[in-house]
Amino acid sequence: MIHITTEPLNPQEVTDLVRKDSNGAVITFLGTTRDFSEGRNVLHLEYEAYQPMAENMLLQIAQEVRDQWGIEDIAIAHRVGKLEIGEISLVVAIASPHRKDAFEASQYAMDRIKTIVPIWKKEVFQGGEAWIGNHEEGSTTPAP
């Protein structure tokens, strides 16, 4: 299951999607919004997605996990829009018969999400805002 939404994420619901009697290991990863980044106090975050492509890329990652570990039970939910500090931005739930595969696949899926999925976050802090992942000069602009 792949889901991109502006609604708050419920980790239990995402986890339940991968629970099966044949699975002895379930890993649920939560990405949460931090209050401090690169020496700045972050007030809130804004996530933006190229939605159809982001969904395609998440499906591709699920397929890669299937191909490499034979794991069918993977669910990914990503939140977009405005998030307050301490909210859940990402839930990745992966289940397999044994824990080793689930841990490996979980790490792999996270690395891929941070590399190929067209989703961006902007940190809004006191005195300005900045798109993360962009280190070009001038990427930091004053808040409106």
Partner: protein, 80 residues
């Protein structure tokens, strides 16, 4: 031919728009589109290594564009 161009995040803000249409010669590549966009949006910092997607799939700069394609320039991603 006409292609539709999408900008996101940092690029959207720099371009001042999320979407535009560009006229290109038939068979043009994303590289040629990129060169045209640099003159249309001088403050848009599109590097030679920018990631490009056509109709939601990553492509190289030497792919062939077709009429009606949706081309997206993808700034460094930061989801999660």
């Amino acid at each position: 031919m006409k292609v539709s161009v999408r900008f996101f995040a940092f690029y959207r803000e720099r371009a001042g728009t999320s979407q535009t249409e560009v006229d290109l010669p038939d068979g043009a590549t994303p590289k040629e589109l990129l060169i045209q966009l640099r003159s249309m949006y001088p403050s848009l910092p599109l590097s030679d290594s920018v990631l490009i997607a056509v109709n939601s799939e990553y492509v190289t700069q030497w792919a062939t564009l077709h009429d009606g394609d949706e081309v997206a320039f993808i700034p460094p991603v930061s989801g999660g």
